[in-house]
């Protein structure tokens, strides 16, 4: 339960607004997908917003982020402009990756957002390497690496935890446990479904937190990041959360019951936090309407920006395959 006296009012509203930005952005993306403006895969984090927003509060601008193919929320919470993200969903040249990556591959080097990795587990070694580069160059930074419960079954999870611990690298391993590896439930793919406990095998400190509670996630992430910064060692934080929508845009959801989904929706992080804020007098109807309107306007502006964006010229198809001029190395 929220302790309003302990929580700065403005910060509380920021947390709520940031979660709402992700929700509205993704809801709009669903509409655009239905209209055909967005194609390909579209993995939504609706229901999981508290993890992205809570965790990102603990990270400084000089820290690095490595993410997954379900990374719209991470990118927005990191401060990447909604416009550049929406344009990326469109595949336009004004997208954050020039439109080349789409939903699964957001990049923003300026904000040290090192990308969405779409092979499960593939980002973890990258995070280890970024942290190694920091250590070798005497920079005291943290690299935060998001991944899902599905990645825990990949060898790279175990290899990366081991290597980061062995070499004392400042990596925050942040598991967004939404209970399903695509359609395979956690207890159907893990002999030990308590993910946080796995860290002990690598002598890595860990904690689990309620991923539907943004305040709890922020507090846990701050403890974790403080530990990483202080000790220069990795930490595993498991946020237990739930994906309200399909794995990608559509799936028949044969692997879970509607009742289960409805039960989790009662713990919607945005709805429950709004109720707490209302009860404690932080969020009244007027303030709520103002935030809703501002977020709606931001999403509308993002869509307009994407619509107006140009397509990358076909002549640039092979640009940036290598740093050399296009075509020089393409055969």
């Amino acid at each position: 339960m929220l302790d309003a006296s302990a929580l700065d009012r403005a910060h509380a509203l920021t947390l709520w607004r940031e979660m709402l930005r992700i929700r509205r952005f993704e809801e709009e993306a669903v509409e655009l997908y239905s209209r055909g403006a967005i194609r390909g895969f579209l993995h939504l984090s609706i229901g999981e917003e508290a993890v992205a927003v809570g965790a990102m509060q603990a990270l400084a601008p000089e820290d690095a982020i490595v993410s997954t193919y379900r990374e719209h929320g991470h990118a927005l919470a990191r401060g990447m402009p909604a416009q550049a993200l929406m344009a990326e969903l469109y595949g336009k040249a004004n997208g954050c990756s020039r439109g080349r990556g789409g939903s699964m591959h957001f990049f923003d080097v300026g904000r040290r957002f090192y990308g969405g990795y779409a092979i499960v587990g593939g980002g973890l070694p990258i995070a280890v390497g970024l942290a190694l580069a920091d250590v070798l160059q005497d920079r005291r930074r943290v690299t935060a690496c998001f991944f899902g419960d599905g990645a825990v079954a990949e060898g790279e999870f175990h290899e990366s935890m081991n290597l980061a611990a062995l070499w004392r690298l400042p990596v925050l391993f942040l598991c967004e446990n939404n209970l399903y590896a695509m359609g395979t439930a956690l207890e159907r793919h893990q002999s030990q479904p308590d993910i946080a406990r796995k860290a002990a095998a690598y002598d890595v400190p860990s904690a689990a937190v309620d991923g539907m509670d943004v305040v709890a996630v922020e507090a846990a992430a701050r403890r974790a990041v403080d530990a990483v910064r202080a000790d220069g060692r990795p930490y595993l934080l498991e946020a237990r959360t739930y994906r309200f929508r399909a794995h990608s845009m559509y799936d028949p959801e044969l692997y879970r019951t509607k009742a289960e989904v409805e039960q989790w929706k009662r713990r919607d992080p945005i709805v429950t936090f709004a109720a707490q804020l209302a009860t404690s007098g932080v969020l009244d109807a007027g303030e709520r309407a103002r935030i809703e309107a501002a977020v709606g306007a931001e999403v509308d502006a993002a869509v307009a920006f994407a619509e107006l964006g140009a397509w990358e010229p076909v002549e640039d198809l092979t640009r940036d395959v290598y740093a050399a001029a296009a075509g020089e190395r393409t055969r």
């Binding site: 690095a64 490595v66 997208g95 954050c96 990756s97 020039r98 439109g99 080349r100 990556g101 591959h105 990049f107 923003d108 080097v109 090192y114 990308g115 990795y117 779409a118 092979i119 593939g122 973890l124 070694p125 990258i126 995070a127 280890v128 390497g129 970024l130 942290a131 190694l132 580069a133 920091d134 070798l136 160059q137 060898g155 790279e156 290899e159 990366s160 081991n162 290597l163 062995l166 070499w167 640009r319 940036d320 395959v321 290598y322 740093a323 020089e328 190395r329 393409t330 055969r331």
Partner: protein, 325 residues
Amino acid sequence: MTRVTYREAVRAALRRALADDVRVFLMGEDVGRYGGAYACSHGLLDEFGPARVRDTPLSESTFVGAGIGAALGGMRPIVEVMTVNFSLLALDQIVNNAATLRHMSGGQLGVPLVVRMATGAGRQVAAQHSHSFEGWYAHIPGITVVAPGTVEDAYGMLLAALAEPDPVFIFEHAGLYPMEGDFDEDARPPLHGACVRRAGSDVSVITFGGSLPKALAAADALATEGVSAEVIDLRALRPLDTATVLASIAKTRRAVVVDEAWRSGSFAAEVCARIAEEGFYDLDAPPVRVCGAEVPIPYPKHLEDAALPQLATIVAAVRGIAQRR
């Protein structure tokens, strides 16, 4: 100019790179205390310390991926994957991350990573330790694939690779490590571009890496019977220097491509396709391939020898095509 082994040339390049650039570090399985599975890094741990010569766990995917991450973070990593056979465990990092990040990020990221590995057969280590997959890697846009076949290239291509802004994969044929050759530490051969290792007029023998000494020996043998073979060392598989190949074909009008890998889908097939596409009307005979037999490489010497291009098979192929009109 001194005589050194290929192994010593690799070690000299590693030492030079570590000494010249604080961003360079070496990591891989047993590169430190053990001195490298092929002794290429022997002594470097003592010289440069454990921060820069790093023994890794047997976690190929993660230490190759960490090399990519460290490159993104401003370092110039040299990752030694002990052999190409083990690189299969790191394929996802190579194919999906190292090769894609610059393009997929719209040009924001670059991965200045050098990965070295031993490749090839011929040492009676059986099917799982005898692969030649450099042709597979050459399939992938976004990376550069080189196969030094001389002592000078073993040294110079590693240093040239470190100057590249994108990932470079160096395939060192395990059979070449004891080979001696001339060595000039100031020589700086380019990273890619084929070259004529022996000039000739009757047949072009096109090869790379571990098959280069065999092709040169075959050319010597053929000369005694009056056949003049020109030996082209491709040096790099990606980018492939088609122009040098075509110029040679225009002169000799006959091509034999030697590649230790299995024939089907081999790099030799790519070379032949380019010759057919761009040099067809220069040819007096169909191109010929001398490749590995399509079997898991067997342990006994007589069977392994039979599975690989040999001096005799190269000589026979060249002799055969030289006689065709």
